[in-house]
């Protein structure tokens, strides 16, 4: 065996490995064509009712707390995009209790790679992207109805918002996963912050009052990836800081990651 040669050669990059995982995952799914198509369709339709709700609400009322129909559509579509991307990427965290209880995590530990990379790569869930597609359609519809003047910075803001918002949701999924190390079962209560956020995130968060806004800024930074960039994009505020505020939401990932490390340490000392 050529041990020396193997030791000095470079590691396959994490990015390449991640895409290799995804490619295998998609190959797996293609084995079950009907299931793939129907799940995607189901995902596409499932969040559609929220849009219908907004639609009928605004047939009767023309604005909610000063926000127009197109503002709300914009908000809704951004949150759904963030959520569905996070579900697609971080599905492994969402179903982590299964991974721990079935002992799959032991297998992950016996492979010379970062645990998170393996959990995410192995549980990539492309069917959730159909929800994303639906959100993009509504986003386009919202834009076409609003009179927003688009410029370069605003486009960047939208992209940043979606990326960082996805990260926030991934962070919450990560908390959920970390707690499985302690409880074995997933905690339904975490869904308040994931599914719940998707539901109440349809409306700009300051609709719910000051306290809620504060909680959603300093505890879980939803407003940074929803309310503030929205205010900048719709021209309610010309504070350029709001355009780049989504990036600050990434700080949320630090405590989530710390909790995860703590959980892994606990797992190593107690087993499953």
């Amino acid at each position: 065996m050529n041990k020396e040669k193997q030791n000095c050669q470079h590691k396959t990059s994490a990015v390449k490995l991640y895409f290799h995982y995804i490619s295998v995952k998609i190959r797996c799914m293609m084995q079950y064509k009907k299931s793939f198509i129907l799940t995607s369709l189901g995902q596409f339709l499932s969040s559609f009712n929220a849009f219908v709700g907004i639609f009928f609400l605004f047939r009767r009322f023309h604005s909610i707390a000063g926000y127009t129909y197109s503002d709300v559509l914009f908000c809704y579509s951004i949150v759904v995009m963030e959520f569905s991307l996070a579900e697609c990427v971080a599905r492994g965290f969402d179903s982590f209790s299964r991974i721990v209880r079935q002992g799959t995590f032991d297998r992950i530990m016996t492979r010379p790679r970062n645990e998170i990379l393996q959990v995410l790569g192995d549980n990539f869930e492309p069917t959730r992207l159909s929800k994303m597609l639906q959100a993009i359609v509504i986003f386009g519809y919202g834009i076409s109805r609003s009179g927003t003047d688009w410029d370069f910075i605003k486009v960047i803001t939208v992209i940043l918002t979606v990326i960082c918002g996805t990260a926030v949701f991934c962070g919450i999924f990560l908390i959920n996963a970390s707690l499985c190390f302690f409880t074995m079962e997933g905690l339904e209560v975490i869904n308040i912050f994931t599914d719940g956020a998707r539901e109440y995130g349809q409306y700009p968060i300051d609709v719910y009052g000051k306290r809620m806004t504060r909680f959603c800024t300093f505890v879980i930074p939803y407003t940074l990836v929803q309310l503030y960039p929205l205010q900048f994009i719709t021209g309610r505020s010309d504070n350029i800081l709001f355009a780049f505020l989504p990036v600050a939401a990434l700080l949320f990932l630090l405590p989530c990651y710390a909790l995860w490390r703590f959980g892994v340490r606990k797992y190593k000392s107690a087993g499953s």
């Binding site: 193997q6 490995l17 995982y21 190959r27 797996c28 010379p112």
Partner: protein
């Protein structure tokens, strides 16, 4: 070289009696019991050895394997595997070992086996030339051939176990841990697996650590046996100490009885 010194590992398990009211009671107040899985065990294994690690269910075999493969951290004690502390430097350690869990698959269910191999190549960063040499060698030795192009879910248990063995050896590990590799296999597959492991040890000098309840496995593969019971090492010696005295299953059962485990 594996050196294990005074390793101790305890678990806390919950206890309650049967029945609904007991379940409710335990919801509020739980009785814990500390179970000592490993009680100051020590042994060392040289490079290229074949060791059968035996003992009744719940004796601490899996716990030992999990500690040696970096999954678990012991409460106290020292352990060095080729100079590495398994739980301190997990990634560096597991790159040099292979682990086969008989009850748990490591190949992807819905893709042809060769796709799983390709993914493992990236997970272990195996250089292309070593990968293809190992793959060809293992394909020949384990008679994988056409099997490699079949999705794992459509394989028989015996075929799958052969693939599992190959999958855990693609990165040419120095040490191979086998946790009940022949469980549920038919006679032909069992013999194929055993012969392969013997050959692997002879030709590649891979250290083999085997846990099993199948004493024929032990007789066929290992030269040394370590017997563990109630977290303690009760016997550590040459296979000849237990084999060659008639039916090996009876001899071992007798042994378990004499140690009251």
């Amino acid at each position: 070289m594996i050196v294990v010194k005074n390793i101790r590992k305890t678990y806390r398990v919950t206890k309650r009696n049967a029945g609904f009211s007991e379940a409710v009671k335990s919801f509020f107040k739980r009785d814990y019991e500390t179970v000592t899985a490993l009680d100051n065990i020590s042994f060392s294994i040289n490079d290229g050895e074949t060791v059968g690690y035996i003992g009744p269910n719940g004796a601490g075999k899996s716990t030992t394997i999990k500690i040696l493969s970096g999954i678990l951290t012991p409460d106290s004690g020292e352990c060095l595997v080729d100079g590495r502390i398994p739980w301190k430097n997990r990634i560096g350690h597991v790159a040099r070992i292979g682990v086969v869990f008989g009850q748990r698959s490591q190949i992807w269910w819905d893709v042809p086996v060769v796709d799983s191999f390709e993914l493992l190549k990236d997970i272990y960063s195996i250089p292309a030339d070593i990968y293809s040499r190992n793959k060809n060698e293992l394909t020949e030795l384990l008679d994988l051939g056409e099997i490699l192009r079949t999705p794992a879910r459509q394989l028989s248990l015996g075929q799958r176990m052969r693939c599992e063995l190959a999958a855990s050896l693609l990165h040419s590990p120095d040490i191979l841990f086998l946790d009940e590799p022949t469980i549920g296999l038919d006679a032909v597959s069992k013999i194929a697996v055993r012969e392969f492991i013997v050959k692997l040890n002879r030709e590649r000098k891979t250290t083999i650590i085997l846990t099993t309840h199948d004493m024929q496995d032990i007789e066929a593969i290992t030269k040394r046996v370590i017997l563990i019971g109630k977290g303690k090492i009760l016997l550590d010696g040459d296979i000849s100490e237990i084999s060659g005295k008639g039916d090996i299953d009876r001899t071992v059962a007798e042994l378990y009885r004499s140690y009251e485990i």
